[in-house]
């Protein structure tokens, strides 16, 4: 059970305090309710580029990193399709430095031309490093475009194409900031060796006078239900054929999420999981195979991907995957197999919660999702899943007309 206290400032900023006196550190986690899904389709990659610009100096503090390092702190950030997160860890004695830095960049950025110019280049190199130079690096770009026709999940966080990043203008940066990076759209978590009184006083002092901003109301086009199977074949200079298939699933907020999560654990994720045992070890059709889901706030995807053993026909590999899905659709999973994936979930949560940074991050995430308190009920929700639930959900998800398949084939 993670203990915490929650309050709001008059400008709407939600603050959560989680005390852990066993660590000498303090952690600050600020989550903004904005991600790649909130971008203009003609300016994709912007939320992530923006995350880089957050380190280019704020209105009163020319350099973000140096004072933090001087205080013995470390920081980082990430952007997803759903949200953007910034986090700091530093000696608890120097907690106020984190308040000073984060509140100033919530107040306003410096909006320097030079910073934009440099970070455009840095992000382009990041794009190349992760998506252009790696074999199969564009597979998920293609899959998103195949599976989503309308919803902004159709592009990756890094963006649809390099040109969108290359042409970003300072004016776009400013508009984005004042629309999304306001107290009313953010959650601040302070955790570690801190007291509620001190955090209250510091939050009031540093964040209290930042103008509230307008609550961002998300109104995204919803993906219509897919009616027929979609397929795509790609030929590229890769050494092995690869198989990708996805199915539409519900949102993170749907109670069925917990069932779906366990479905993926039954299929893959360990040496005794079904797809690995059957397709890699027994039938020797794949050299590796994974099943996962996007865990996204809005309707997401469940995916199976793997590389084929040289010489195996991809149609045969797909049939073998289907045979495994037939089993989970038709036969009830045994109590011990269900218990296994529940135990795995229990231990995963215990390991995650070891780190005060992870706890802070989870509190922020659940608060953005709806309520930080949900963090403490996750295990219970998994516990309630039955074998019948698994079969019913598998039938609902694994329908051919709900699927998108990519054959990613080696040229020549």
């Amino acid at each position: 059970m993670i203990q915490y206290e929650k309050f709001s400032l008059s400008n709407g900023l939600r603050v959560i305090v989680h005390q852990d006196l066993s660590t000498p550190l303090a952690v600050m986690d600020i989550m903004y309710d904005v991600g790649a899904r909130d971008e203009d389709p003609n300016r994709t990659g912007f939320a992530h580029l923006f995350e880089h610009l957050m380190f280019g100096g704020s209105v009163n503090i020319p350099d973000y990193d140096e004072p933090l390092q001087m205080a013995g702190g470390e920081n980082n950030a990430y952007t997803t399709n759903d949200l953007t997160n910034y986090y700091i860890s530093l000696p608890a004695e120097n907690l106020e430095t984190a308040f000073w830095l984060e509140s100033d960049r919530m107040l306003s950025l410096a909006f320097g031309e030079k910073s934009l110019e440099t970070q455009r280049k840095v992000v382009c190199e990041e794009f190349k490093e992760h998506y252009l130079t790696k074999p199969y690096g564009d597979a998920w770009h293609k899959m998103r475009e195949l599976a989503y026709k309308v919803h902004p999940y159709r592009w990756m966080t890094i963006g649809k194409e390099l040109s969108h990043i290359e042409t970003a203008r300072l004016e776009d940066v400013k508009n984005f900031f004042f629309k999304h990076y306001r107290p009313v759209n953010a959650v601040l978590v302070v955790a570690g060796n801190v007291t509620v009184e001190k955090v209250k006083a510091l939050a009031e002092k540093w964040f209290g006078d930042i103008p509230s901003g307008e609550k961002y109301v998300r109104n995204l086009p919803q993906e219509p239900e897919q009616q027929e199977a979609r397929r795509l074949e790609i030929k590229a200079n890769v050494p092995l054929d690869a198989f990708y298939k996805t199915w539409h699933i519900g949102s993170r907020l749907d109670q069925k999420y917990y069932i779906t999560d366990l479905v993926t654990d039954i299929l893959s994720g360990g040496g005794s999981s079904r797809l690995y045992q059957s397709l890699v070890k027994e039938k020797k059709l794949f050299s590796n195979i994974d099943c996962s889901h996007s865990g996204s706030t809005e309707n997401g995807l469940l995916s199976i991907e793997g590389k084929l053993v040289k010489g195996v026909k991809i149609e045969d590999a797909e049939k073998a995957v289907e045979a495994e899905l037939d089993k989970i659709r038709n036969e009830l999973v045994s109590e011990s197999e269900l218990q296994k994936v529940k135990n795995k979930t229990e231990s995963m949560i215990a390991f995650e919660d070891m780190s005060v940074m992870n706890r802070a991050n989870s509190l922020a995430y659940y608060e953005i999702l709806g309520d930080a308190a949900w963090m403490n009920f996750e295990l219970q929700k998994y516990g309630k899943v039955t074998a019948e639930d698994i079969r019913r959900e598998s039938r609902a998800i694994f329908r051919e007309e709900n699927s998108n398949t990519i054959y990613y084939l080696a040229e020549g």
Partner: protein, 425 residues
């Protein structure tokens, strides 16, 4: 209340912290196996790591050590690979194994309440693994396929080559895998290696987390009767490459180059090692370093550039590593040399030095947070043949090293002509 936002709040300089390494409980099993244990943490979880002297230094043919280590989990006289995996996974445990140069490990992460169900099976892996032929064949095939994919990646190719340049292709630190060597693996050879270095071999145990009260008898019961025979770690002569510069085209359509620049460096026992870690931080060891500030934050040539010292036991190396746009690779290398020159020519300012000191102390404080981190420190000390004093010596170095000393070290080690220089596109 108005506040002056331009004014930084007062800080306690991390350099003034008195950091200590949480003590480690030490005991010996009946057969002389050393156990190091850190009992700490709030979650009911624990970590156990068996460290065998079964690294790739001991093998007579490439890949034997790594393959033996990998196949430990793939079948015993009592259980199939599937049954072994199912057992650990049923209890929500993670069983991993890794092969390094001098050592090879089995690592178990589990909920403390389940440890009693898991240890007997770990013992089975150490004493009754069978390395089935079919498991070996699947491993060979899948590893060759993985290698094929990796060889398309410039960073993978660069990583292999720079180590071979530094230490020699025959040296444990420099050798790398090939499809032919995977094909040449033979089950009998693996079993022989397994028997000598695992079943009979010497090992050390590291344990951390919320520990059960009966830890010592529990470990004695399962592991106290193993032979634990002495193992001498084999030595191989270094054979660095004679040619210092290389430009390699791995993918004619590549848009980025993987740059590696590296020079040989002595191991942790050398008096310069700890001091150079401070110089390294300043050079390319953290976000505020010279390399990062110049090459990423000013020039935008790369997503990231880092320098670091290899954590090998016998010999180390000082390495700069980055992926940069194809057309700016040469410019990047030039900037790296400029930063070396800057450190040789000018003493670091007091402010920059204080920044590095504070950063290093703060990050050390974070690195000591939690039982798994603490046992990691102890493991490093034990396996490198150091003592607890090393930890305090490193803190002392961070706190007191002077700008003049750092400049002298830069002049001694940051000499371009002593660096290998490699770009793989």
């Amino acid at each position: 209340m108005t506040i002056d936002r331009k004014q930084a709040p007062p800080i306690v300089d991390a350099v003034n912290f008195n950091l200590s390494l949480k003590p480690c409980q030490q005991f010996t099993l009946q057969n002389g196996v050393q156990v190091y244990a850190v009992d700490a943490g709030a979650e009911e979880v624990m970590l156990l790591e068996w460290v065998f002297f079964a690294g790739n230094s001991q093998e007579e043919q490439n890949l034997v050590a790594a393959t033996t280590n990998f196949l430990l989990r793939n079948g015993t006289t009592k259980r199939t690979a599937f049954q072994i995996n199912e057992h650990f996974e049923y209890y929500g445990a993670y069983l991993n194994r890794s092969c390094y140069n001098e050592t090879a490990t089995i690592t178990l992460h589990c909920l403390t309440k389940h440890v009693g169900e898991l240890l007997p099976v770990v013992k089975e892996l150490i004493t009754e693994s069978t390395m089935p032929t079919e498991e070996l064949a699947i491993y060979q095939q899948n590893m060759k396929q993985r290698l094929k994919v990796n060889l398309k990646k410039s960073d993978f190719v660069a990583g292999r080559l720079i180590d071979a340049y530094l230490y020699g292709e025959k040296h444990p630190y420099g050798k790398y895998s090939s499809a032919e060597e995977f094909d040449a693996l033979d089950r009998d050879q693996l079993l022989h290696f397994y028997n000598q270095y695992y079943t009979q071999g010497r090992f050390v145990l590291f344990v951390a987390g919320k520990l059960p009260l009966n830890l010592e008898p529990l470990l004695n019961q399962q592991f106290g009767d193993l032979p634990n025979q002495p193992v001498e770690v084999k030595q191989t002569a270094l054979q660095p490459a004679t040619e210092k510069k290389a430009r390699i085209t791995n993918d004619p359509n590549g848009v980025q180059g993987s740059i590696r620049m590296a020079r040989p460096f002595p191991n942790r026992h050398h008096p310069d090692f700890l001091k150079v870690q401070v110089l390294n931080a300043l050079f390319g060891g953290f976000f505020g370093s010279r390399l990062m500030s110049n090459i990423r934050e000013d020039k935008g040539y790369t997503y990231g550039i880092h320098s670091f010292l290899h954590n090998h036991i016998q010999h180390s190396a000082w390495m700069v590593s980055t992926e940069a746009g194809k057309d700016v690779c040469e410019a990047t290398i030039e900037e790296v040399y400029k930063e070396m020159k800057g450190l040789r020519d000018e003493p670091v300012s007091e402010e920059d030095l204080l920044l590095v000191r504070n950063y290093l102390m703060g990050s050390l404080l974070g690195d000591l947070d939690g039982p798994f981190q603490i046992i990691g420190r102890w493991k490093n000390i034990v396996l490198h043949g150091l003592t607890e004093q090393y930890f305090y010596h490193s803190i002392q170095t961070i706190k007191t090293i002077s700008a003049e000393e750092l400049q002298a070290l830069a002049q001694k080690y940051l000499k371009p002509e002593e660096f290998f220089e490699l770009v793989v596109v």
